[in-house]
Amino acid sequence: MLTQDERNRIRAEAAHYDHPQAACVEALKIVQEHHRWVSDEHLKEIAALLDMSPEALDSVATFYNLIFRKPVGENVILLCDSVSCWIMGYEGIRAHLKEHLGVELGETTSDGKFTLLPMACLGTCDRGPAMMVGNELYRNLDNDKVDEILARYRHPSGA
């Protein structure tokens, strides 16, 4: 079940547009904020709120890279895998991340902390290789920097 707060926020978003469907991607993101991904049950509830069929909403949800229809870890890592990052050493960073986390691209670590996903150009090509962890952008990556960043997410207290 969606919370009352989620419902209110979705309705408020829909009010910005002439047609409620225009708010559907934002609605999916609101639900992801707390649940990290969008389950079938949530999908149906959102669709009902926005006057859409669940099928229509699912076709939208599956179109976009940042809407997850399967469970993801606590932190989603989006590793930029476009041309400028490749030129600047993407493959080494990818290998390091895979080894460090013990997962392949598209997988979640066994402790549920991280999901590693390749992502289309993040638009920070002058400072590649780059990745996002959650909403934070990290640039000019090297292996040490990656370790340091991941440690911060493992131990958020800053220990």
Partner: protein, 430 residues
């Protein structure tokens, strides 16, 4: 100010506030001369605004280079139907990183550009469509819009005038194709971001089937300056066919990558060598992609005489696109980079058109085979044949974009393909 790198040959007009966080607030922007273009627009009226933009010769900065003033004049006269202005801030062309900077350093410049454009075209609603990955930029933008509303620069009776213009920030959720203008319109309506068949063109049938104009962030950022100082003033920079200044996003193998605002027509080798410090000591230049990953690759010969304006890059066999200059030195494995670009298009293809949906993964497969040393010379013919069938045969140009680096790289760097095919190793090009 040391915004990552600055250079004395830059003409910093739309990038003048880069690296200056105080310019992000409405007061900071006003102190730096902001919103004077909007005031002048209200004085001279919509028709005169369009005339100034036409006179400036400003061309769309999103890649196509279509004359902005002309595009605006396609909009029907304001009447019963609502008109929409969309700002395309879905920057996702690989190699491009200018719009993010325009938004995060100078959000009010963009709001001012949107307001002037909306006013000129009789639109009472401007949507700024930002890509989902631009989290920080979308927060900066949302704050600036809120401030503009609070201070009477957006919403009802702007600056005490009779003009009402709503400004809404809409954030996407990750899909390259939403940068295509009709894909963006579908996405804004809450649909899959699939491009629409044209015609009808957006000026006739756009968002919600209403007249719509879509402009890139950088185009709209230039508008306040043009309207404040006049179209002729803007023409003091650039060439006759490509007036004004342009942000050049330089990435890859140069010492000082970054955004540089230069007059159009700037020589490419001077950009790479003087402004960006050239390739690293001991390395040599191999190839440049001048306009983002969907334009043809250039070799060193092409670069030598090339001037960076729409007609100059075209004469050198490529396209200026959004001026995203990707520099590759002699360490670069061209076949691998081309495969990487094609793979990107395969992932981002929306799947509506067969040549694109089937062609992009197939090309990726053939390129991978060559890369792994298992290719044959006939694979090159297959790639060229596929490219021909993927160009000009689909609803949008994503498919053409995937073909461009393939065709140009086979043309310019055939030796590298042959070396992989015959020796399983690449050759170093001197």
């Amino acid at each position: 100010m040391a915004y990552p790198y600055v250079h004395e040959r830059e003409v910093r007009m739309i990038s003048r506030n880069f690296g200056d966080p105080a310019a992000r607030t409405l007061d900071g922007y006003r102190e730096r001369g902001g919103y004077r273009g909007l005031e002048r627009a209200f004085e001279i009226g919509p028709a005169a605004v369009i005339d100034e933009v036409k006179a400036s010769g400003l061309r769309g900065r999103g890649g196509a280079g279509f004359p902005t003033g002309l595009k605006w004049s396609f909009m029907p006269k304001a009447g019963v139907k609502p008109h929409y202005l969309l700002c395309n801030a879905d920057e996702s062309e690989p190699g491009t990183f200018k719009d993010r900077e325009l938004i995060r350093w100078d959000p009010h410049q963009l709001i001012e550009g949107c307001l002037i454009a909306a006013y000129a075209m009789g639109s009472r609603h401007a949507y700024i469509y930002l890509r989902g990955e631009f989290f920080e930029a979308s927060q900066v933008m949302a704050r600036a819009v809120e401030e503009a509303y609070e201070r009477g620069f957006a919403g009802r009776r702007i600056l005490g005038s009779e003009n009402d213009i709503e400004v809404t920030v809409h954030v996407g959720a990750g899909a390259y194709i939403c940068g295509e203008e009709t894909g963006l319109m579908n996405s804004l309506e809450g649909r899959r971001g699939e491009p629409r068949v044209k015609p009808p063109f957006p000026a006739a049938v756009g968002v919600y089937s209403m007249p719509t104009t879509i402009n890139n962030v950088e185009t709209l950022a230039a508008v306040p300056h043009i309207v404040e100082h006049g179209g002729e003033w803007y023409r003091q920079w650039g060439t006759d066919k490509s007036p004004g200044t342009k942000l050049f996003c330089v990435s890859g193998h140069v010492e000082k990558p970054g955004n540089y605002e230069l007059p159009l027509g700037f020589p490419m080798m001077e950009l790479i060598e003087d402004v960006c410090g050239g390739v690293a000591e001991g390395r040599s230049l191999k190839s440049v992609i001048p306009g983002g990953s969907s334009v043809p690759l250039m070799d060193v010969e092409d670069c030598r005489e090339c001037t960076l304006c729409y007609e100059g890059v075209e004469a050198a066999g490529s396209m200026l696109g959004c001026a995203s200059v990707i520099v590759m030195d002699d360490r670069t494995n061209i076949v691998r980079e081309v495969r990487r670009m094609v793979q990107f298009y395969a992932h981002e293809s929306c799947g509506q058109c067969t040549p694109c949906r089937e062609g992009t993964p197939w090309m990726t497969q053939v390129l991978r085979r060559i890369e792994a040393g298992r290719g044959t010379e006939s694979d090159l013919d297959t790639l060229l044949d596929m490219s021909a069938q993927m160009t000009g045969t689909t609803i949008c140009v994503l498919s053409d974009s995937a073909a461009a680096p393939v065709v140009s790289s086979i043309e310019k760097f055939r030796d590298e393909y042959l070396a992989l095919i015959h020796g399983g190793e690449r050759v170093e090009v001197a």
